[in-house]
Amino acid sequence: MINQYSGIAPKGDLQLIHNLCKKLKGKSFLHVNSTREGGGVAEILNRMIPLLQDLGIDARWEVIEGDARFFDFTKKTHNALQGNQEKFTKKMWDYYYEVNKRNKNNIDLKADAVLIHDPQPAPLIDFRPRSGKSIWMWRCHIDISNPMPGCWANLKKYVIKYDTAIFSVAKFAKSLPIDEYIVTPSIDPLSDKNRELTDYEINEVAERFKIPRDKPIILQVSRFDRFKDPIGVINAYKIVKNYNDCRLILVGSSATDDPEGEAMLNEVKDYAAGDPDIIILLLPPDYHMEINAIQRMSDIILQKSIKEGFGLTVSEAMWKEKPVIGGAVGGIPLQIVHGLTGFVVYSVEGAAYRIRQYLNDPEMAIKMGRTGKEYVRNNFLLTRQIRDYLSLWYINSNRGKHVIEL
């Protein structure tokens, strides 16, 4: 299975995955999270677990179960860890622990390496089997650079019991008494969202969604959320329109759990009203191939966020060799090396200026697009993330060394 990535992912990453799997052959690797479907974590695990099994690792993926009360609480912790102020009671934290305790009866926690994803199953560390030399790692996928202190303090009690904590970006890491590693998120180049498409597939999507291709297309793909600044994107497009004819497409998926999304969508529609060159599309969340096609038919792709987690849509666009423009927030500057793999901007005017630059210098746009794809190939593909998880497992078995020869 891993051979599917030959010629796509860096050879060294595939080689290291092979070498590590040889060393770890027959050993067990348990992943635990809180959902089987939806979200980036499930997407990666769906792909990664069969790959590891195919390479001789006894990989398992378990999902903790909880009721509405549990998930309401974990949603609140999610928001509070990202900086929102929420109200918590001791009873809530006790229930959180209780649900995890119940889950330990249904999940076999015996494994050589255990990777617990996000805060929901974090208390499982208290039920770590005493026997054996298992390695327990806690993987935080969210931005906890500025958490609500009380919430973090409660979660930290569990985190520090792990052998290792893993964060997506260095600035999300905390000062902890355990080892902390940085593993950036990734995209799967073979998924429907990112795989190569035929011209036929792209044209079919253009026809289905009535997207004319008579002028350059500027695109932003993201939820209709204030932090993604769709109004700012329209304003940037309006400035550009004074100089260059172009079309703007805003694509978002319908998030049923986001009541603010609909209000924002209506605001965006009102703001764009009367301009036939602005196309707003609301697509179902599983329209991955369609989004892929729209990205591929676009000329410039924006992610003009004013607050962002990692912003993997940037890597998705770069993988398609598109010139990108992104807000200087979250993980976007890690993906866009300003002036080389794209442009990082701080304002509507800045975004407009960079769009004009791309439109007026297509050769530069092509060059940046190509450089961007190579940058993603070397840094943000799924195989690199699998490589990193296996490396961390191996590093934990060789603690204290800064250079490990395989």
């Binding site: 860096p10 050879k11 060294g12 990453d13 080689q15 290291l16 070498n19 650079s145 500025n146 964060f167 260095a170 600035k171 890491a173 905390k174 000062s175 902890l176 080892d179 902390e180 590693y181 940085i182 593993v183 927030v329 090396v337 080389l340 940058y375 070397n378 490589r387 990193d388 490396s391 961390l392 191996y394 590093i395 060394k401 800064h402 250079v403 490990i404 020869e405 395989l406």
Partner: protein, 224 residues
């Protein structure tokens, strides 16, 4: 029967980033932490900068932060010119960094704080070194391999070797070419490529050029 030559085995280095949990929000804090963090952290932010692609106007993470985040271009320029591969040790690099920052702080004693989220985060790495399954016995094979190996491989043999071998001046490629293939002239040409002035891709191209030129000249030579 001719004695078989020792082949060159290509290896690669992959570095997994480890956070130290330490961060600086202004130049004074940066200076204070540069003085106390482990050698591995200084090594990562200076020597290993080249592994990241060397794509910016800087040569280490400290100069990049000074230029891009603190917007202190003059300081960034001075920090950029610290060449970790010419200096003999991490200790010497640390000393140079501190000397430059101290000189700057003497002239501008009240550095401003950076905006939240743009602090300097001190990291270090754990490196995994592994053979990539490519061995070459002669220059023709070496050229083909050089074309296809990852940049992490070139980093390991061209940059990391200078620290690993403890001599501070030699890369693995030229050592093999001199000591196994006995081609000192070619080895010297590879050694003349300045690691500080190029990206890894450009190092790849330069080595290819000099080896190709050597092989061509060798083939065009008249047999006596």
């Amino acid at each position: 029967m001719a004695k078989s030559l020792k082949s060159f085995e290509f290896k690669q280095c992959v570095s997994i980033v480890k956070s130290t949990g330490k961060q600086a929000k202004n130049l004074r804090e940066l200076r204070k932490l540069i003085a106390v963090v482990g050698d591995e952290s200084i090594f990562h932010h200076t020597h290993q900068y080249f592994l990241k692609g060397h794509m910016l106007d800087y040569t280490n993470d400290f100069s990049q932060w000074a230029g891009e985040n603190l917007e202190e271009r003059a300081l960034a320029e001075r920090l950029t010119s610290i060449d970790p591969y010419t200096l003999k040790s991490v200790k010497a690099v640390r000393k140079e960094l501190i000397r430059e920052i101290d000189a700057f702080l003497k002239a501008f004693p009240e550095p401003r704080d950076i905006t939240e989220g743009h602090e300097f985060y001190f990291n270090e790495t754990v490196s995994l070194v592994f053979p990539v399954g490519v061995k070459t016995k002669n220059l023709a094979e070496f050229l083909v391999a050089l074309e296809h190996i990852d940049t992490g491989c070139i980093y390991y043999h061209f940059y990391d070797s200078r620290v690993r071998l403890g001599e501070g001046v030699v890369d693995d490629f030229s050592r093999w070419i001199e000591h196994t293939l006995f081609k000192k002239n070619l080895a010297d040409k590879i050694r003349a490529i300045d690691p500080f002035m190029h990206s890894i891709e450009s190092i790849r191209n330069h080595i290819k050029e000099v080896v190709e030129e050597y092989v061509r000249a060798d083939m065009e030579g008249v047999m006596s």
